[in-house]
């Protein structure tokens, strides 16, 4: 069952005279329970794609369906409604409110949907245990490490059981130990909870944890790789090779 269907997405910035097209007709389908990563060089449009898919930014053309619902035509208020019920977010710079404790940050999405209190506490203790951040619940974000912040952010993304989670460079600001720690946890949650995850990254190691890697170049899908039955090491080698072909900026001499 496909949970996200995007077809012919166009996105351009600027005015009539100075128009820059960032996405030039992207088609993408994500199945339920899939862990997909989007890779590409900087400026290739991968973050724009994520923003558009996750309804934070609007498309200039094309349609996006999430869970069978078309989100491209929705009003601002309906979008907010949609986001709070169906989507979860993990960002590179954590996006935690530094005036709230870890627990308060994690419970935020439940407070928007007005989940009963006891239910909220049950869900919190479950996800906090899964991500190993129970001890931190009364600490403020400036008292914990980057890895812990990102796990907090992940807990916040999972707690309201969204149909899809968008992660924008979640390991970008982490050291390699914390990064692999986080990715292990994410894959674990992906399997245990059957949650769909779409992740943007430029790190091949991070991408190798996924089922499928989509490569973007100059606003279009360049190619896709499936992990299939390979182990992570082999998949990593594949990704490295493809990235080599993708090659970043061509030498213009």
């Amino acid at each position: 069952m496909s949970i996200l269907v995007a077809s012919k997405i166009h996105k351009s910035y600027g005015n009539k005279f100075n128009r820059q097209e960032v996405l030039k007709g992207v088609d993408l389908t994500v199945q339920k329970g899939e862990f997909v990563s989007i890779m590409g060089a900087s400026g290739s449009g991968k973050t724009t794609l994520l923003n558009v898919l996750s309804s934070i930014d609007r498309v200039s053309g094309g349609t996006i369906h999430i869970d069978g619902k078309e989100i491209t035509g929705l009003k601002e208020k309906q979008l907010a409604e949609f986001r709070k019920n169906n989507l979860g977010f993990i960002f590179q710079d954590y996006n935690l409110l530094d005036t709230l404790t870890v627990k308060e940050n994690i419970l935020l999405p439940l407070s928007i949907t007005k989940t009963p209190k006891s239910e909220a506490h049950n869900r919190f203790s479950k996800i906090a245990k899964e991500l190993g951040i129970e001890e931190l619940q009364d600490k403020y974000p400036n008292e914990i490490s980057g890895g812990q912040k990102q796990r907090t952010s992940a807990a916040r993304a999972f707690i309201h059981e969204p149909s899809i989670i968008f992660a924008d460079e979640p390991t970008g600001a982490l050291d390699s130990k914390s990064a692999s720690d986080l990715l292990n946890k994410l894959s674990q949650l992906n399997v245990d909870r059957n949650t769909t995850i779409v992740m943007v990254t430029h790190d091949p190691v991070a991408a190798s944890y996924c089922h499928r890697v989509v490569f973007i170049k100059d606003g279009q899908i360049f190619t896709q790789l499936n992990k299939g039955e390979q182990n992570r090491q082999d998949f990593f080698q594949d990704i490295m090779k493809t990235q080599g072909i993708l090659g970043g900026v061509h030498d213009e001499r």
Partner: protein, 646 residues
């Protein structure tokens, strides 16, 4: 690009940024200028009345300069901090600090003096309005056209020139102290970072609340007879002031954080959007702004308190005039009374006349006093009271009874009577015991006879004659008969008053009530105008400061709004939360200020007039209303920020 172009471009780019600064400037200048214009205007001479009035205006204008300059310096500090990055950038590309200072000064010069002239223009237009208000409340009726006063102009120019120099000096120090690095992080270093609540804070918070409550408690006891000597009274007042001010400071420093924290603990981490948005502001920022908030609260409390007291006296003029002048015309000198009567008859103005013989008698009133005031400074065993006959009042009192009437409300606070008891009347050679039957409210003889508000004693006519024959000459006043004249037709009052004045009958012992009321109105009106003007200035400046603070806070928190909107909170959700937050940010200082002034006014209002609630509620309501405008403005600003945040 030349430096001049740079200045000009900067100015154009920053005008939006500086909008409020310019507003603050124009506003201060126009207030000051209109005040000084009034001060120098010849048509004000009558309203000013005396040298005292002029001196009051002078003192007020000095106070006004103080408020305005503190406000401008503060506003400037906020705005220069916001431009830290720009200054850092100039430094980074190799400009010297002196050069940057010169650019900023030039830029400021244009802004400052531009607004100065606009402010003077607006101020001049406003001074007409203020003059009209002043004439209305003082009752001084001849309106002269206002002249543009060059004296006022020069004085305004000079004052604001000095403030400009002060501001430049502060900017100079600011720029000198900065390094490129610190300039880039200027905004983040001004606020405390988030910390856990310490025991120390809990102690401070509890102390603060106890201090405030103790201060309030002492204030209710202040004139209750608990403090009898002047020294004790002064000590108690200073204690109240200290307790309340320190209490307020501690309250902002700790109490609010504690209360918010207890509330937060109760939620066990499950916060709704209102709590999320107001938390940081209430728990962390109020603490770091505690000095500023304490000053704002204390001075608003002072302003509201003074305004209420002055308005109470203004409001009660009619009532107090009755205490002083019980009839429309009151004479202690019979010759003057007869002259006036003669003239009234000639003019064919109908009137009624009463003549009340009065004797001063020593009495022992110890038995009817409520016990708590026994140690007060009154000779309760030998109290001299004015005595009149039942005939003068048209009531019937039996020979062994005594009725009191017309007790001043102020004195009643110190010395209240029981409902019944014995009064012993002493004359030259004997003393008579009489039954006290009660206290009536009617005032029948002027202030002078009652030693400033003591009750008048009414006795049986036969007893009155007896007392009159045996009176102690030593304690009698110069006049023993009071003559009161009331007009039959109230429309004649102006003509009669003119007659009274043209005969030059007025002195301390012979008064016309209308003249007295007019005189009081013009004095109290002027005081009220001055206090009101200062209060308004202070209200607006403190409102602006809180608003500026909120602007800065909003910009720092914009990032949070982005996060919250990404998570799925709608703009409406956030704005609702912001409303709650502003209710606290503006409401807490307002409510505390109102409470402080309420207790201050309540402790001593009876010295100023006869009515407490109506005037006090009018003043407080008006203050709260004007103040909340700034809260609403700040919500509008946040609305814009939230709209831009995603």
């Amino acid at each position: 690009m030349s430096v001049n172009q740079l200045i000009f471009r900067n100015l154009k780019k920053n005008i939006k940024h500086y909008f409020l600064y310019v507003f603050a400037l124009i506003f201060s200048v126009s207030l000051y200028f209109s005040f000084v214009t009034l001060q120098y205007d010849p048509s004000m001479d009558e309203a000013k009345g005396s040298i005292k009035g002029a001196a009051a205006m002078q003192a007020a204008s000095v106070l006004l300069v103080a408020i305005v300059s503190i406000f401008l310096v503060y506003a400037n500090t906020i705005f220069i901090k916001r431009r830290g990055k720009e200054i850092g950038l100039f430094q980074l590309i190799g400009m010297t600090k002196n050069r940057i200072f010169r650019i900023l000064s030039a830029e400021n010069l244009l802004l400052y003096f531009g607004s100065l002239f606009i402010g003077i223009f607006i101020g001049f237009s406003f001074s007409k309005l203020f003059l009209m208000i002043l004439i209305h409340i003082t009752g001084v009726s001849d309106i002269a056209t206002l002249q543009f006063s060059s004296e006022a102009f020069i004085q305004t120019l000079l004052v604001f020139m000095v403030i400009y120099l002060v501001i430049m000096f502060i900017n100079f120090i600011f720029i000198k102290k900065q390094t490129i690095l610190s300039l880039f992080q200027v905004t983040s270093s001004t606020e405390n970072t988030i910390k856990k609540i310490s025991i120390w804070e809990i102690v401070i918070g509890i102390t603060g609340m106890i201090a405030i409550i103790a201060g309030y408690y002492i204030s209710t006891k202040l004139f209750d007879g608990a403090f009898t000597s002047i020294n004790e009274l002064a000590f108690a007042m200073i204690a109240i002031l200290m307790l309340v001010i320190i209490g307020t400071y501690f309250f902002y420093k700790g109490s609010i954080t504690i209360v918010a924290n207890i509330n937060r603990k109760r939620k066990q981490g499950y916060l709704n959007i209102n709590e999320v948005l107001s938390l940081s502001s209430i728990m962390f920022r109020m603490k770091s702004n505690s000095i500023l908030l304490t000053i704002i609260t204390t001075v608003s409390a002072l302003a509201i308190g003074f305004l209420s007291l002055v308005y109470i006296s203004y409001y009660s003029i009619e009532k107090t005039s009755e205490e002083r002048v019980p009839n429309q015309f009151a004479f202690q000198d019979e010759k003057k009374a007869n002259l006036f009567i003669e003239e009234l008859t000639k003019k064919e103005i109908d009137f009624s006349k009463i003549a009340i013989p009065i004797i001063q008698v020593e009495m022992n009133i110890e038995d009817i006093l409520l016990s708590k005031v026994k140690e007060a400074n009154f000779e309760v065993k030998n109290q001299i009271l004015p005595v009149i006959s039942e005939k003068s009042m048209g009531v019937n009192i039996s020979e062994n009874e005594v009725l009191f009437t017309g007790y001043s409300t102020t004195l009643e606070k110190f010395m209240s009577f029981k409902d019944d008891g014995e009064v012993i009347v002493q004359t030259k050679d004997k003393s008579t015991s009489l039954t006290y039957i009660g206290l009536k409210n009617d005032i029948v003889i002027p202030f002078k006879y009652t030693a400033g508000g003591l009750p008048t004693v009414i006795v049986d006519d036969r007893l009155f004659e007896e007392l009159n024959n045996n009176k102690k000459e030593k304690i009698q006043l110069a006049s023993s008969v009071y003559t009161g004249i009331d007009l039959k037709d109230n429309d004649d009052i102006v003509a009669a008053d003119d007659l009274f004045n043209s005969l030059k009958l007025e002195d301390l012992n012979n008064e016309s009530r209308l003249s007295y009321v007019r005189n009081q109105m013009s004095i109290m009106g002027l005081i009220m105008f001055i206090v009101g003007f200062l209060g308004l200035t202070f209200l607006i400046t403190s409102g602006c400061i809180l608003y500026f603070k909120q602007m800065g806070e909003g910009e720092e928190e914009k990032y949070n709004y982005t996060i919250l909107r990404k998570l799925g909170f709608t703009e409406e959700d956030l704005i609702r939360g912001i409303r709650g937050k502003q209710l606290f940010n503006f409401g807490i200082p307002l409510v505390i200020g109102l409470l402080h002034s309420y207790f201050a006014v309540r402790s001593g209002w009876f010295f100023f007039g006869t009515e407490l609630w109506t005037p006090m509620i009018i003043v407080m309501g008006l203050y709260a209303l004007l103040y909340s405008i700034f809260g609403m403005l700040s919500v509008a600003y946040y609305k814009k920020l939230i709209g831009e945040s995603l």
